[in-house]
């Protein structure tokens, strides 16, 4: 698959020919136009609408909705909640990101087992899962608001520091760490720009653009999915959904984006 894509790029850029060779950024500019054209009418809105329905729907053994779930700003407050996550929650005595918090609420409010609540973390072709829709809905309710992740509780401090260690952790057959690709300014893989997640400006730009509707997959992808797929490309084993490491790394990245204006679900290639 990817080999075919490579060939496609090679072939088209070759046929694009001299003009492109003289002005290599013009290809990048056209891709900017492409992204702008998709901005109006993001299919993520379909997930947001479905998520709002699921949020209010009575489900699970307790036949209850999630409406009383405390996402960090108090029970039932959805507006702005994503800007303070991940966060320490007293009831679970854990730092939780949005996805793990939803799992906790599905267990405590709706009576699902943790296994049931975590069973389908990501959607796929012909497979719609509640988690993607809930994430799309809840994050959309923080659009336009500033990221404001706090590390006041010792467990929040610890999660941030552990996330930082993980960010620089080199491993696997390729010796890759997150920092290999996301630790310096103005780098790119092929033609894809790489945010430097250790700087505030880039971290803000990157973190506030997830979740995203990926046109290549026709799905809304959550931040948990973003980390899952990064580690796949890092040649690491499979990241477990809402695992402590995934939450620690999210805490590190989310806090680095503080002050950035949240603008997702977005739309990406």
């Amino acid at each position: 698959m990817s080999r075919i894509h490579r060939t496609v790029i090679a072939a088209l850029l070759a046929t694009a020919g001299v003009a492109l060779a003289q002005q290599p950024r013009s290809a990048v500019e056209e891709i900017e136009r492409y992204r702008a054209a998709l901005g109006d009418g993001n299919p993520a809105e379909l997930w947001e609408a479905r998520g709002e329905v699921i949020w209010k729907q009575k489900r699970g053994p307790k036949n209850a909705s999630l409406e009383q779930c405390d996402l960090g700003l108090g029970p039932g407050v959805v507006k702005g909640a994503y800007t303070v996550l991940p966060k320490y929650f007293k009831d679970t005595d854990k730092v939780e990101d949005l996805e793990s918090r939803l799992v906790s609420c599905m267990v405590s409010l709706q009576g699902f087992t943790p296994e049931q609540a975590k069973k389908d973390p990501f959607g796929g072709p012909g497979k719609k899962v509640p988690m993607d829709a809930l994430v799309a809905y809840i994050t959309s309710e923080s659009r336009g608001m500033k990221m404001n992740v706090q590390t006041t509780h010792p467990k929040e401090v610890e999660a941030y520091e552990l996330g930082r260690k993980m960010f620089y952790f080199r491993g696997g057959p390729h010796d890759f760490a997150c920092a290999t690709c996301h630790g310096a300014d103005n780098l790119r893989i092929r033609l894809q720009d790489l945010p430097n997640l250790t700087t505030q400006a880039d971290a803000q730009k990157a973190y506030t653009a997830w979740p995203a509707y990926r046109v290549s997959q026709g799905e809304v992808r959550s931040f948990q999915w973003r980390l899952y797929d990064c580690f796949r490309q890092q040649r690491f084993p499979e990241l477990i959904f809402v695992s402590p490491a995934s939450i620690a790394l999210t805490t590190f990245l989310a806090k680095n984006s503080n002050g950035g204006t949240f603008n997702a679900p977005s739309i990406k290639r």
Partner: protein, 156 residues
């Protein structure tokens, strides 16, 4: 989108709603509803597509404008706006020359509706894209532009 402005008709497959839709004049004629020009959607070339739509040789026209990025970051979703200033435009179609079947979509433009459509199609590879206009007197006109398809990302 403001949820309060949107009313959703539940159970749209039901006979009741179907009856409602019919009463509302949703169906232009008895079976117009199910009209889908299979022959046109099976064609591989512009000439064959026009033929399947009941026309002769189409003429190139500067009164048809295709707006799209010259390079698509992903062929799965390529945005297009097609607009026609051809007098008495009755329908507008979007065709992708190198797709397995050339015709992507065809729009009937009734009186009062602007000959202007914005939609998104799939492109298997870099290709010419054609906007095809049919006028009320059965004549066909077209314009085309090339769109290059890439796929970025980490690879592997």
């Amino acid at each position: 989108m403001d949820g309060s402005r949107r009313r959703i008709l539940k159970g749209t497959g039901s006979a009741a709603v179907l009856g409602l839709a019919m009463a509302a004049g949703l169906f232009r004629t008895g079976s117009a509803w199910a009209e889908w020009n299979k022959a046109a959607f099976d064609t591989k070339s512009l000439a064959d597509a026009v033929k399947a739509m009941g026309g002769g040789a189409p003429a190139e026209s500067k009164d048809i404008v295709i707006t799209s990025p010259d390079i698509a970051e992903n062929g799965a979703v390529v945005p297009f706006t097609i607009a026609s200033k051809v007098a008495n435009t009755e329908s507008m179609a979007l065709l992708v020359e190198k797709n397995p079947n050339i015709l992507a979509a065809n729009f009937q433009i009734p009186q009062g509706t602007e000959p202007w459509i914005n939609t998104r199609v799939k492109m298997g590879q870099t290709s010419n894209v054609i906007a095809l206009v049919k006028t009320a007197d059965g004549k066909f006109y077209y314009a085309s532009k090339e769109v290059k398809v890439t796929l970025g990302g980490c690879g592997g």
